[in-house]
């Protein structure tokens, strides 16, 4: 079991999934503070809820800076520290499959569609209206969107739960992974719609083994149902699913699978099923 479910989950409710049990984490959501510091006040940005211990020692920004400067030795020093800390919690995000995403949306209000800051930085894609937005912000922080830092600018379109679900399903059809932004957990700040390499959350997970936590699920192929159409192979953003030439079927590396469920929702024959990670002995500690 992941540390979040151990700490905030309730086996009696939502299958023990932490994010479906706000009773245990909602109190903490807006109360995390740096040691010795008071309330952040009106100056605070949307990332203020971040878990304080994440800010001690080197950050991922330091790692990026070392790579940018070509300082391989510094990068080699920082990466193991970040990986070690990432094991202890404080993850900035977690992959969530579509079905769970619908249930999380029912818990969060208000919900607003916003511009994606990752695509803005990585490919200079300027999303300016509701037709273009590819990110979703949640929680009362959305009401102060005009006070957010410059990188989040681009407007907001508030939606109700049904519209949000419909939008999320549309994004799933387009092939985006749904990543719940925790800003250091337990804080539900938004739903990113991600792909590799434009999305920072997936990129740091795949390239550095940092950040984004895997979902509670893992995909498996039913070989009797799979007809080898190959649609799922184009939908995996984590390099876990490939087309196996010998058997002419989809093949999933479950150690690499993040359980986003995109292969499942894309399969026209229902050949892929998501299984609970904690029921598979070798995968219970693979997050």
């Amino acid at each position: 079991m992941c540390w979040l479910c151990e700490e905030y989950g309730d086996p009696e409710y939502g299958n023990g999934l932490w994010y479906l049990n706000p009773y245990n984490y909602a109190r903490n959501m807006y109360k995390l503070r740096l040691p010795g510091e008071g309330y952040a006040g009106a100056e605070a940005g949307p990332e203020t809820g971040a878990r304080p211990e994440r800010r001690e020692g080197p950050t991922q920004a330091d790692l990026t800076r070392a790579i940018e400067e070509g300082n391989g030795e510094e990068a080699a020093r920082i990466l193991p520290i970040l990986q070690e800390r990432s094991k202890k919690g404080g993850q900035p995000s977690q992959v969530v499959p579509l079905e769970d995403a619908d249930r999380v949306l029912e818990l969060c209000s208000p919900i607003g569609l916003i511009a994606c800051i990752c695509r803005k930085g990585a490919r200079a894609i300027d999303e300016r209206n509701e037709m273009e937005y590819t990110c979703m912000g949640m929680g009362v922080g959305m009401l102060k969107w005009e006070r957010w830092p410059e990188r989040y600018k681009g407007g907001v379109k508030f939606v109700n739960v049904d519209e949000a679900k419909e939008w999320n399903h549309l994004m799933d059809k387009r092939g985006f992974v749904h990543i719940l932004m925790l800003f250091g957990a337990p804080y539900i700040g938004g739903f990113c719609q991600c792909d590799y390499p434009d999305c920072g959350a997936i990129r740091s997970a795949v390239d550095f083994g940092l950040g984004t936590m895997k979902s509670h699920w893992v995909a498996q192929v039913d070989y009797d149902k799979c007809n080898g159409c190959g649609i799922c192979a184009s939908r995996c953003q984590f390099g876990a699913l490939k087309f196996e030439v010998t058997s002419q079927k989809a093949n999933i590396d479950q150690f690499k699978c993040y359980g986003c469920g995109l292969c499942q929702t894309g399969c026209p024959r229902g050949a892929i099923t998501l299984f609970d990670r904690t029921n598979i002995p070798a995968l219970t500690e693979v997050w």
Partner: protein, 97 residues
């Protein structure tokens, strides 16, 4: 979480290509965005250096110097030189390691 399940692709011992962007020539990267969109490994990143007072202000990408280009993922550069060919102002230089 087991680190064994996440094999980092970053090769730490290797030397990365040196990529420099001449900010005197590259002034409106957010509008131009040619190198950002052609790079196969998304090496480049467009960003802003912000002071605390400025961070809430929206910046017009059409004004010179409001956004700056960085080569933040040099480790991913494959030296294909597509960015150099497409750059309309010859601002990018890449040196082999």
């Amino acid at each position: 979480m087991s680190p064994l399940s996440r094999m980092p692709q970053l090769v730490l011992g290797r030397k990365y290509p040196k990529i420099s962007v001449d900010l005197q020539k590259c002034t409106v990267p957010f509008l131009c965005k040619k190198c950002l969109q052609i790079c196969p490994n998304a090496v480049f990143h467009v960003t802003r250096v912000m002071s605390k007072e400025e961070r809430l202000k929206e910046m017009d990408p059409r004004i010179d110097g409001n956004y700056i280009m960085t080569a933040s993922r040099r480790d991913k550069c494959i030296l294909c030189n597509k960015c150099i060919e497409i750059c309309p102002v010859d601002a990018i230089k890449i040196e082999e390691p």
